[in-house]
């Protein structure tokens, strides 16, 4: 069976740490970092390799800071 794997890139300096992407992800890939960015926001980061590249997180991100990749293997 074909399997898809994905990955996201978060522009952490533009992320405002709003957490709206977190409940949007069906695979609990995203959490807020302990560290903060230059603006003082706890930015979003990936915490596991379960991303399928569905782009749910990216389309709900108000600041449009998530880029999504997807490969069929």
């Amino acid at each position: 069976m074909a399997k898809v794997i994905g990955d996201i890139v978060i522009d952490i300096e533009r992320c405002k740490g709003c957490e709206v992407c977190i409940p949007a992800c069906p695979h609990d890939v995203i959490a807020l970092a302990k560290n903060v960015n230059g603006k003082g926001y706890h930015y979003a980061e990936t915490i596991n390799d379960k991303c399928t590249g569905c782009a749910n997180c990216a389309i709900v991100c108000p600041d449009g800071v998530i880029t999504v990749y997807r490969v069929k293997i």
Partner: protein
Amino acid sequence: MEHTLTKEEIRQEKNLVYKKTNVMTDNILSYCPGCGHGTAHRILAEVIEEMDIQDITIGVDPVGCSVLAYNFFNLDMQQAAHGRAPALATAIKRLFPEKFVFTYQGDGDLAAIGTAETIHACNRGENITIIFINNGIYGMTGGQMAPTTLPGMKSSTSPYGRDVQMMGNPLKITELVAQLPGTCFVTRQAVHTPSTVRRAKRAIRLAFEYQSKNMGLSFIEIVSNCNSGWKMTPRQSNEWMEANMLPFYPLGDIKVPEK
């Protein structure tokens, strides 16, 4: 199941499925973290990119938090006096009927100070698209009560909740303009979850398609959060919106063109 591709192998141009559209500029949005204005801007910009109409689209932005929207769209934009965006858009569309013209307005702008402009542009059937962000409050000026504030909802000018006996009833202006013969498409959407974002984007696309066919005015309400004004975190505000705003402002099409 573990896979063997490295992140570098996945993150290649050929595998790209989503990135920020170039119809948005690279300026950092002035909105609070988690505010629906940013998501609404982005899907509007994506529709313009997908229809390849960036060079022939003119936007009109309001007074309110989105007063600076001209900094965020890579488009020709005009900024209207408070509430007057539909009048300005009317002029632009009549001068340039071949352009796509939209307004982007909050509920204070569209449903309070701009009620007359809104209703008359709708009633005249101007061939424009109105995007109406309803967050139930005046966001920019500090969370004052708006015509859209729910019964019992707290705001800085209704600290004990909106008392409809004293403060009047909320105005469902979207249902109201649907009654007018000049509107061809009237719908209520939201942008807080993946599925609502997808539906809202489809509605914006339809509105622009109707505009290209000169079918009259399309009116798209987007129920959104004002987490700062509501004094909640972004996630709480989206949950509160679902539990309280959406029962009063139900999502879906209110008027669609006749086949």
